[in-house]
Amino acid sequence: MISAPRSFRISAAPALMLAACVGCSDPAAHGTPASVSEKVLNVYNWSDYIQPSVVADFSREYGIHVNYDVFDSNEMLETKLLTGHTNYDIVVPSGAFLERQLQADIYQKLDKSQLPNLKNVDPDVARAVAHYDPGNQYSVDYMWITSGVGYNTADIRARSPDAPVDSWRMLFDPAIVSGFQDCGVSILDAPSEVVATVLLFIGRNPNSNTADDLKAAEQALHAMRPYVRYVDSSRYIDNLANGDICLAMGWSGDIKQAHDRARDAGKGVDLAYAIPKEGAMSNYDILAIPADAPHVRNAHLFINYLLRPEIAARNSNLIKYANTVAASLQPLDPGVRSDPGVYPPPEVRARLTPERPRPPEYQRLLTRMWTRFKSGK
């Protein structure tokens, strides 16, 4: 679960705002049931999670006015969806949340005859997403991501030349992480994902929902907490890039972003991202159409558009996350395509565990435990 902002900012902010505003009107304003021919599409996606010109080009090509709205947490999206009547035509929940929401019957089946570009979808990704949506009937993956270890190569080498940079011991072994306390350590503010990762590290089932396993994870986190400077899901990008922190648990695209930013700044900060050998959690952000979407046909057009290889490549080139379209590798920037942090090789992909949904009672225990962890008590 990505419960915190998919933290990502781009320097082309004016362009982004322009495109995010391709019609800034509130989708809820379109109260009347739309006729089939209404040339409108209401999209609700993660913030800073698309190449803005893609939205503009879609509008131009199909003559469809896009109301593009953004959210920054799965919980926020679900709260809105379960309130009903959102008027959104496309939403992008993460896998574990999609699975929960499918039980509430709030999505409609995709009409695959309107999605010829489904043939471009990477079968491995489709198989992974079928864990959440059996038979891929309701959804198509948009981007997929991993959480791993991001670090400043020079700072780590200076303190510990033989640091196990390919292991979660970097963060969760107190004897090791204590060595990097002085140069700054950060942890994602994503309770479910961090706890799952710790369970993976201590050899338990990462998707366990038992109070006992949660307690074990809390103990492990408690032991390393003194060496953590902060728990946050967005600050670490800038701080890694500026050399303010040297070690972070972070998301693949974010670390890649920090890496590029540091390289462009030219101050000699070199960053690396590793998916640890013990394995890591993977997440899928998935396109789906709410059951009461007013512009179903346009939603299909947009999904089909996003599955064009060159469009998927344009999105990934900007946001540095791996898209679902196998044929998009060709038009991708070589720097993104060959980055094992963005597109891990098969043997690494085999060690990734998709996150599962959490029952409400567990969610509550988790929220409480996380409050204790963050406060360092």
Binding site: S3, Q101, Q103
Partner: protein
């Protein structure tokens, strides 16, 4: 006819939302639209009322809720007292200043509202943080050698609330003090009272209504304050407004969120009723 408008106002803006929240607090969570069970269901052609107390019971099974309520009441009480101690002299000074400068002074009190509330609270982060303005100045002057932990403390929350809510204390106090008859103080002086005694015996009792009005205007919203403690406050002790928001958005448990809201209201009923009684008495006195 005239009495109908306030009644309608109360009905639409208070009673109906209250009933909706009250209703949800007696249901249970379910994964559907809406995410809670209906109170009325039909069984064998007859309506069955299903009231669940679980949300309320839950509030007492976990110490989080009780401790957050108590903490919120404490924060609101301390902040109200600080606002009163700072706001009273300011309101008094404005009321005593000459008629020409009063509008300017009042304008200065209201002026901060021209900037977004959120931005002003963010500005306090910049002032209070470890490498923020205050710590940098203190270290430059050599008063401290290590940055003081100012942010994410009770102190920061008090500063934020007092700073943001001070006008709500000053304005009703000013409205009250401004009406005082200055000749009463002259009479007190003629009868031998020193200024302090005259203030305590004449001005202060007369301004009691203003003190109560200002205090309630600060206290009531401060209890449920969400933004200020979230940005400036401690992470190990959260206020009830944050608990409510977490129940709704993180745990997605509408019944418990509603129960939390209803209990806040119950806690505030006493001060709100006092306020209304006072208003009524003032209205009657004005007749």
């Amino acid at each position: 006819m005239v009495a109908g408008i306030p009644t309608l106002w109360l009905l639409v803006l208070f009673l109906i939302p209250f009933i909706i929240v009250f209703r949800i607090s007696f249901s249970e969570v379910r994964l559907a639209i809406p995410p809670y069970t209906p109170l009325l269901s039909w069984r064998h052609g007859a309506p069955v009322l299903q009231l669940h107390w679980s949300a309320y019971r839950f509030l007492f099974t976990d110490t989080l809720y009780v401790s957050s309520y108590l903490y919120s009441l404490k924060v609101a009480a301390v902040s109200t007292l600080c606002c009163l101690l700072i706001g009273y002299p300011m309101a008094y000074a404005i009321a005593r200043s000459d008629a020409a400068s009063r509008p300017v002074l009042l304008m200065l009190i209201v002026l901060p509202f021209w900037t977004s509330f959120l931005l002003r609270v963010y500005a306090w982060i910049g002032l209070l943080k470890n490498n923020g303005v205050i710590n940098n100045v203190l270290m430059y002057l050599g008063i401290v050698h290590h940055p003081l932990a100012l942010l994410q403390t009770d102190f920061a929350v008090y500063i934020g609330i007092v700073y943001s809510y001070l006008p709500f204390m000053i304005l009703p106090l000013y409205a009250n003090l401004e009406k005082h008859d200055g000749t009463l103080l002259e009479a007190a002086a003629d009868l031998g009272a020193r200024p302090l005694r005259a203030f305590l015996r004449v001005t202060l009792p007369q301004s009691f209504a203003g003190i109560v009005a200002g205090s309630l205007l600060v206290f009531i919203p401060a209890v449920g304050e969400y933004v200020i403690p979230t940005l400036l406050g401690r992470t190990d002790q959260i206020m009830i407004g944050r608990v409510l928001s977490d129940e709704f958005f993180e745990n997605r448990d509408w019944p418990v969120a509603s129960a939390v809201a209803i209990v806040i209201l119950l806690l505030l009923v006493v001060p709100i009723m006092l306020f209304q009684r006072l208003e009524r008495r003032q209205l009657e006195a004005a007749k």
